[in-house]
Subunit: 462 residues, 4 copies
Amino acid sequence: MRKLWGGVFQSGTSSLADRFGQSIETDLQFWQEDIAASVAHVHMLAKTGILTAGEAKKIEKGLEQIHEEGPEKLPRDVEDIHTAVESRLAELIGETALKLHTGRSRNDQVATDARLYFHNNLLHVLDRIKALQAEIVSQADLHLDDLMPGYTHGQHAQPITLGYWMLAHFWPLQRNGWRLEKAAALSNYSPLGSAALAGTSLPIDRFLTSRELGFSAPIPSALDATSDRSWVLDGLHCLALCMIDLSRLCQELALFSGHEYGFVKLSDEVTTGSSIMPQKRNPDFAELIRGRTSQAISYWVNVASMMKGLPLGYNRDTQDDKPPLFASLELVEDSLNLCTQMLAGCDWQAEKMKAAVHGDFSTATDLADGMAMAGIPFRKAHELTGRVVKALINEGKTLEDLDSESLQRLVPEAPASALKNLLPEDSVKARESYGGPGPKAIKEQLIHAQQLLKMAGFAQVL
Amino acid sequence: MRKLWGGVFQSGTSSLADRFGQSIETDLQFWQEDIAASVAHVHMLAKTGILTAGEAKKIEKGLEQIHEEGPEKLPRDVEDIHTAVESRLAELIGETALKLHTGRSRNDQVATDARLYFHNNLLHVLDRIKALQAEIVSQADLHLDDLMPGYTHGQHAQPITLGYWMLAHFWPLQRNGWRLEKAAALSNYSPLGSAALAGTSLPIDRFLTSRELGFSAPIPSALDATSDRSWVLDGLHCLALCMIDLSRLCQELALFSGHEYGFVKLSDEVTTGSSIMPQKRNPDFAELIRGRTSQAISYWVNVASMMKGLPLGYNRDTQDDKPPLFASLELVEDSLNLCTQMLAGCDWQAEKMKAAVHGDFSTATDLADGMAMAGIPFRKAHELTGRVVKALINEGKTLEDLDSESLQRLVPEAPASALKNLLPEDSVKARESYGGPGPKAIKEQLIHAQQLLKMAGFAQVL
Amino acid sequence: MRKLWGGVFQSGTSSLADRFGQSIETDLQFWQEDIAASVAHVHMLAKTGILTAGEAKKIEKGLEQIHEEGPEKLPRDVEDIHTAVESRLAELIGETALKLHTGRSRNDQVATDARLYFHNNLLHVLDRIKALQAEIVSQADLHLDDLMPGYTHGQHAQPITLGYWMLAHFWPLQRNGWRLEKAAALSNYSPLGSAALAGTSLPIDRFLTSRELGFSAPIPSALDATSDRSWVLDGLHCLALCMIDLSRLCQELALFSGHEYGFVKLSDEVTTGSSIMPQKRNPDFAELIRGRTSQAISYWVNVASMMKGLPLGYNRDTQDDKPPLFASLELVEDSLNLCTQMLAGCDWQAEKMKAAVHGDFSTATDLADGMAMAGIPFRKAHELTGRVVKALINEGKTLEDLDSESLQRLVPEAPASALKNLLPEDSVKARESYGGPGPKAIKEQLIHAQQLLKMAGFAQVL
Amino acid sequence: MRKLWGGVFQSGTSSLADRFGQSIETDLQFWQEDIAASVAHVHMLAKTGILTAGEAKKIEKGLEQIHEEGPEKLPRDVEDIHTAVESRLAELIGETALKLHTGRSRNDQVATDARLYFHNNLLHVLDRIKALQAEIVSQADLHLDDLMPGYTHGQHAQPITLGYWMLAHFWPLQRNGWRLEKAAALSNYSPLGSAALAGTSLPIDRFLTSRELGFSAPIPSALDATSDRSWVLDGLHCLALCMIDLSRLCQELALFSGHEYGFVKLSDEVTTGSSIMPQKRNPDFAELIRGRTSQAISYWVNVASMMKGLPLGYNRDTQDDKPPLFASLELVEDSLNLCTQMLAGCDWQAEKMKAAVHGDFSTATDLADGMAMAGIPFRKAHELTGRVVKALINEGKTLEDLDSESLQRLVPEAPASALKNLLPEDSVKARESYGGPGPKAIKEQLIHAQQLLKMAGFAQVL
């Protein structure tokens, strides 16, 4: 295996050690970022007079050629991408290539590459969040009036509408977008030129490379710059939160598409069958997203446990920060896309949902609220409502059956006005408090969501 | 056990179930926030005409009295703090107390209380970060010139100074402050008035309570407001990152205070002895912080795994989001304080540190850099330096022994100028690149840190 | 704070350090084990002549008195339980108490105490597993013939019976019992007498104390004995697996008790209500067990991450191994009890379950199997069945409607014999393969379970 | 993509869904186990008369041919390995291939394959544990007399020997072997023939396939058999514990090979250099093992969090149980090998280690023990020793300097006999308690280890 070091060594590492230590397969994911960072570095070396303009030009041309050739031409019998690029460069331009690594170390180089890769791929994730939000908003708009049960503890709590439920999934995505943008901002500082851990005596200019690569500024301490991986954990945290929020949506879609609920038929595009039970329509992708949320969680654990108690200065442990980060980025991007496909293909069964909210006592709160509005202390109204519900159940009736006579009989102190929202439709319509499912409130929420959707990025929390 | 519900139930829960479900011990930590939120709620109920001014006044006075009495007077044979406060209120003011719970649910109430508690306690953490940063800056200033080894892979890499090492711990704290402020901003939206999951038909005004309690705005979806715990995970993530960064400092202090390094003597205040080995001076608190970093990590895992796949709407699982959050806040506050105490009491052994960097070949990079400045391609300079080091080791010499004759003999192409930074003192002085340990660079870094320290909060990343 | 060390120290630890380092609250849980280990130690010190018989007798009597007094008499202004007991002993018997700590260290002492505590509490957990298994077996016996849907992917797959579903939860418990017994066996080796890390020059006899305390043997390396915490992780792993298995049962009970499924009504004993929706019957304890499974998972993470990379020899980090272990033991014991209560109180709705399996195409596999038995290659039979199902759906029919004519028309090559198990009752009855729900197979399974239940402990895997 | 299902579907899954759901790349790792299980299945189908002998022979020959061809000939445009094998079989033997899947489902098939794979690969891991133990034993034997410091809290505690330290790493490996064998025993039950979740009406014989494949017995419940993944968690737990124990060894090797300790020089085979600092000899593989221990921990978290709350019956989430298990097996096997290589190549610096234990007060315990043997209560002896140590430090002396006169002066009540083990050599020699480093005790420990090493497998705990 070709290495960038070895001067003082008499024998090579064992083949097992070589395989165990090699990162080239992972590194190939950021081969372009590695080249971009080298180009910026060489520009700086020229501007500061460390290399001549001619040397710099030659190296830059070589790097451009490597970029054009693509990763297929890079050698694989190397430790890492830096070695691969430098080796190929030497093949292309000869000894000048050996000047590229002046004033830097692989410690700052890999930290730079990884930050650039994170930024580039975050853009895709942010786009995919917007796309899913757009799907939610447009679906919600179609279903503002479709009644469905609202759940707490997995039990029917109060009637809501499908549009209301759908929009509730908009806001977690908005927060995830906001979070990711903040993570991007925090990580957008340049380690390049920190060298191994403590800078260099060469007259490099870290602000030049920082600016050229789009970073906000160079990191003020070279030791911190090469030691810090907290930005990886920020990324993994935000990505895990994305997955957790998607897993909640997926869990609901899996439930709703089951036989018992029957609220939705998922499209063939996102459904699979069984090798032995041909009638099955399995919400496999909802299940896979739910299951892989555990992966995203475990990636954070991996890096958090890795970093715990690590002294400052590069330690080889941190080589393994990239596979979980890259995998998490890809997982979230795919999962967002799949959720968008799932929602887009949903065939909602409005009649079944509507039927589910009738006769389920889920407007009991409306009865209690009605009493409270008439001056009965709420806690008491709550207790009285419980008495009514118990009586109705005993009589085999539902709240929709309750008329003023029965109410009078059961709770003499309750006014007839308390009955007005006992039909699910009325219950929903009446709940017009900010953030509620009532017609005006939900319209306001929809417009709010549409406005956020139109904004570039995720500047606003909610 | 007294409960706020039970109308339809014929028999009570088992005593095991009562004990298993009770949260009053945890809840008592936020008894003040619960009262504050109730006061805001009752103000709003009066302003919107849901309660009369007189009723509201009576409730408010009752709540104030509960606050003055302190938590000792609250009943403990209750499910939760909400029940405790309402029960006590009823004892104090009679039936009007039963009107307090109008237009809200425990689902939005507990979410509000917990967010308020998080904010209030975050302020302490932020203060403690500043205090530790201040200690670092003042200690760093005293030790800008004290040589010490800089490490990568736990090996001597290049000489640095104690001040340089210390300042490297300033920036992670700055990032943690920034992160926590962002987490605070993201969580600062009000769930109050969301009721169980879908608002209420009562004419409440969520903007009023949001404003009175210091939130930025009410959360636009009541379903999202009662379902979301991602802010808890944000908090736990940021707090875990604080611990990880402190664990790295503590690991270094533990190493540095060991017999082999001997760089520092920790003060008696933060050192313990052994029951069997009286000569021991154990860095127990560094070890405990290092170990408890795992706790902070596990708290995040707990809540992440809890939230995965949970349908929207309150689920009882989320009752258990508070113990890890509260424990993590306390752990981080204590750990920051202990680290400040540890650093303040450090008795640095400058002579031992200085001795450690002599004869360790850690200025080899300076030799390579020197050759590179004289036009030898860096990669080649690196190889040639390796050859020199090997020869010196064979001769039982160090880099400090290298003179121009020997260099000439070993590497004919190397100029004598390459020798100029081979003493550790010179090596450090020469590394003046931005973020390096050279005198000008470190002074610049120190001033930068001092400026950030003076700013209110953590508005700037770095 | 009173400490067992301090000879060389000039000033005490700070009050924050004292509070941060104190473990007395946790330690009080194993105060009896600490005394038992001291009694065994003092017996040994007498038998080996290190103490006189009189001294030993005096100390033993003092320890017995402490045991009789109970933990209330132990001082709390101490670091740990060892200090508390030794201090109280000195109060009771004077200077002889100072001889108790001869030939041991707190490092081996705490490791011994914690192992004893683990064993003692494991016995309760094992008992509780048996009790839940017994409940399952007795409930299963009552419901061997009650049809219900069997699920894969949350979708109806094939009809099963309630007894069959219930017994499926017997085997995970059996494995957990087996696992815990193995963990107990592996941890049942004595660290006592290992002293700080490397034994002692005093003529102690570790086999004596090991035997008296019920351990299998002393641990062969004193360094390993004081360093090892893998048995804690074994315990936490097994306990987490218990919780995971219970969480699966609880998730099913939560689903089954929901409005959509309606398969079961949970008893009032294990159900809670809502403060705002009086009709709610929430499966809170199923939810809490499900949620707290994350706690059990996080406890393992805590200790695993704590132990990673820790050098041998006692490190203070490991002080924090006990709170998660003790909490996990208590959580599992409570959760097993609650699950037993939940199952015991279940009011199963046999008619609703039976209704759910009709018309759901879940006997499609029987059609395919029927064709396969008649010589049609299974993969082809599968495809043909799919064709039949599609046709029936289009015609608004179910598999129960399929008669030989229709079959002939749809799939000419299919024999009429393929129709015989299309009713759910018949489908279940026909599946008599080992481990299936058919009458003979399930009876065999039930007897198997009953036999394992009667055996002492969990000697057999399955 | 070719699938084994699809009868009722009108359109295919999206290409993203296909990619997201495909497991063929992972599955190829157990292609041989899949074939073996199919061969056993087809033998059983013939013996039970479900297939004719001729059909079975034909299928078996086809499967054998697939095995001979190797995985290269298997199609890749398929969901999984089962589809790949069945497709290839159909190409080779025509329609008879379609009879292979009779009486089973992919749910029991994949569970069977994965268990077989686990067993086969566990054997390699167990071998590698024995090899590392052998290396430890043979190295320990060479260094029984080489003094070195024994540490607690990272501080010199008492002198030990290199052989003593090394043997302490033998026992964790023994426990890991024992654990893995128990995990193997617990997982060695056959799911095959459980079909989708509830057996089959075909007259299959699960005991036949179980026996042929080397399982102990078929799992008694088909629903449990297809739902259980606790054996995966057992495997991941044991493998994580292996890594944790190796990480502790690696942490010590990293420390010991550093400049400050200088106890050992790692061989070139397992050391790497720096691209910028040619004198560096980095313990990269110790660091990588330490870092990747976090991976092993995170794999357990992944599957634990995945399984939490999953209803019984196959859920697609569990597809992702295999990548972490397979990765962990490979990681542990490699890490064991690397540790063996590392230890084998260690160049121990006996002189440096010996020098480290002189003058470090680490025989203070011997002074206290000496006083205790002379009748001074140990707790008092401890205090007096502290006084002596403090005085010596003030006088710039060490414990080795202590003579009977000085002792008399400092502690009049202390007898001269208390001085006898104050030289490190004497201290070690005197600590002959079971498990200690004294010459007889360590010889006994070595013989004990050698005996365990000779036994087949890991039948004994310690």
